[in-house]
Symmetry: C2
């Protein structure tokens, strides 16, 4: 048997898991500061809830199977369709507007490539039940605040209104979306190949448009909120369910793509409730965020440093109880502390363990120290050590 | 189409999701204070990694299927077998001992009943690679600290050593495990039915045993750590992989069963590494913990109170910008704040929204207030309101 994970699936060892948790915690805090509340839905749903909601491609990439009870089930593919189910199923129990965030894994049997996985965390925030431009502005402001909270200083928020594409053929949108990638010539060529008439002037008309009145209102609210997006009439976003605002955020110094995308989608959330329910929201690309944080060196020191601040060694089996006692005292004071778990190990080996784990401080309590209620504190970096009364230890550590 | 979740699967609406997060966060903090580090493994594994590791029953209850690439895959069934894979696969990258915690969902197609679900959170902490009694004691101490952190004041830690069952037939263990449920007579009857000779004296021998030398050492360490378990020679625990210490924790005032169980299992973690790797650990029953917290009323007020502390209303469309500005100022000061998202709504309706969500404070900025750089602050509970200069607002709120 080969010891391996499935292609596109990942283990997160402690260092990585802690960094992920840091980003999640920071975003949660920002979401809640705007009054967004957490929501969790199951990993498995009845297949019929999810099937046909993501186009042909989605149905193909979905993890589907028949369970032991002969039910057709599918793994969560995104968090928007489950949100639509929730909104229909609990209509009377939810406030309106319903502002929720959701941070859970989704599964897609994609072709794996750099930065694309089959199990990945989605990080969504949406406002359901209100159609105002102020709601659009709040959404963008929230995304910006999230990035600021993570430490990103320079990023560009590109905005547009899907209304600019109102009079152009639907298939044009996906092509214009590639403008940045393939340039004007590339777009014109692609439009021509699709048989779109007058592609040059069509493109020119689109990129010379001014913000719609609606978008102007949104931008005005955003200005009050201290956020200055960049209007880009060629911004299209691939998905075809958007009905108004669309936006993407790019981080300066990180070129792998936008880390956040969203917009208004007024015809989706009501699909199960069988009525129109306006909605606006966005998703952070969690893996890209992680990568950008790494590249721009934004993880704070205490997240990359070891969890354990102090290792209490055991000088000899006879002195074990003293070491346990000291461990307890340090822990009570809120300092992450390990005790070496084998009393029959040489002090040298115990120090080596601290070194390997990068634990910054080690405490040694020999016979003399024990007699005099003292401990020896060793700084593993400078290799300096000093003997202090037990009661002064905490001051030294804090 | 019926809007529903699968049997045994649950949605967690905001109120519930926040309570879950509170418990998770508290436990993480305690785990880390003992130097345990987080680990994440994928939801899906190659079937061969999991199959045959949980007995016949486990294979039957496992969610298994063939993916689009014809791979046989299975959903995570527990966190111990994945841990064994991790330990074998990354042996050289992990510290020894490896102290990890893991809080992820697992899936089991169990018969659903009160408190038993098909998707549920497991909450594990284990020490891998060391066989000392001090490690056993640290494990129990950690579990106790976790419960204390959550606010549980009275609980009983039952401990035993599997060694007491060394000379009795294996099938006896599961029967004796039911002593509390079916009484001595019931156990003797069940033993007799299984054809065990001299059941009465067998039971008497077991329940009159003293702690083993090993367990005495563990209890001595625990006493230094300030933890006093109760020795119970009849404690058996169902699973047959335990090799030494076993323990369970029961909470006073919560009768649905133990909320934590664990022990030493020295022959399991090495299954993929093909060598003996000692291990000790435990799992909290997350759903029972949640239930006990609820019954004993242990959730703190700020978790059951609304996330939003202040709603800034919009008095009229003309005054929208002022309200946005005030919202920004309050948020910068770390107070969770919503702005009402539709400027064309009557103030009455806006107040009703605050009432529905239980938001404690509402801010109203009419024309007079705006002119004088003031705001009116309304306490939604007492229905009292006062007009204060904007610069004094924060003092009022904090």
């Amino acid at each position: 048997m080969k010891l391996q994970t499935l292609k596109g699936f990942r283990d997160f060892l402690p260092q990585e898991a802690r960094k992920r948790q840091f980003v999640i915690d920071a975003l949660k805090k920002v979401f809640e500061s705007y009054g967004f509340e957490p929501l969790e839905t199951p990993a498995l749903e009845y297949e019929e809830i999810l099937l046909g909601k993501y186009g042909e491609e989605g149905d193909k990439l979905m993890y589907r199977f028949t369970d032991n009870g002969k039910r057709k089930v599918a793994l969560r593919y995104d968090q928007t369709v489950p949100l639509a189910r929730i909104v229909a199923q609990y209509q009377n129990a939810l406030p309106s507007p319903f502002k929720r965030y959701q941070i859970q894994n989704v599964w897609r049997a994609e072709n794996t490539q750099r930065g694309r996985y089959r199990e990945f965390l989605q990080c969504d925030a949406d406002i359901v039940g209100v159609s105002s431009s102020l709601a659009d502005a709040e959404t963008i402001s929230l995304a910006a605040k999230g990035l600021e909270k993570l430490g990103f200083k320079k990023f560009t928020i590109l905005v547009n209104d899907r209304l600019v594409f109102e009079n152009v053929p639907k298939e044009t949108i996906a092509i214009i979306d590639k403008l940045k990638k393939i340039g004007e010539k590339g777009v014109v060529k692609a439009l021509k190949e699709r048989g779109i008439p007058n592609p040059t002037s069509l493109l020119k008309t689109i990129i010379s448009q001014k913000p719609t009145e609606r978008l102007t209102n949104t931008l005005s609210c955003l200005s009050e909120l201290g956020v200055q997006p960049l209007f880009n009439p060629a911004l299209a976003r691939g998905l075809d369910y958007y009905t108004g605002l669309i936006f993407e955020i790019e981080i300066e110094g990180y070129s792998a793509g936008s880390v956040c995308g969203g917009g208004r989608y007024d015809n989706l959330i009501g699909m199960f409730a069988k009525k129109q329910i306006p909605a606006v929201g966005f998703a952070f690309g969690f893996d890209r965020l992680m990568e950008a944080m790494e590249e721009l060196n934004l993880f704070p020191k205490d997240i990359t440093a070891p969890i354990t601040k102090v290792l209490v060694t055991i000088f000899s089996p006879m002195l074990k109880d003293t070491s346990i006692e000291v461990t307890s005292i340090i822990r009570i004071n809120g300092i992450n502390t390990e005790i070496y778990l084998d009393e029959n190990t040489s002090l040298e080996k115990q120090l080596k363990y601290a070194d390997q784990k990068g634990i910054p401080y080690v405490i040694i309590i020999g016979e003399n120290e024990a007699k005099e209620d003292k401990v020896t504190l060793r700084d593993m970096k400078t290799r300096e050590q000093k003997t202090v009364p037990l009661k002064d230890l905490l001051n030294e550590l804090i």
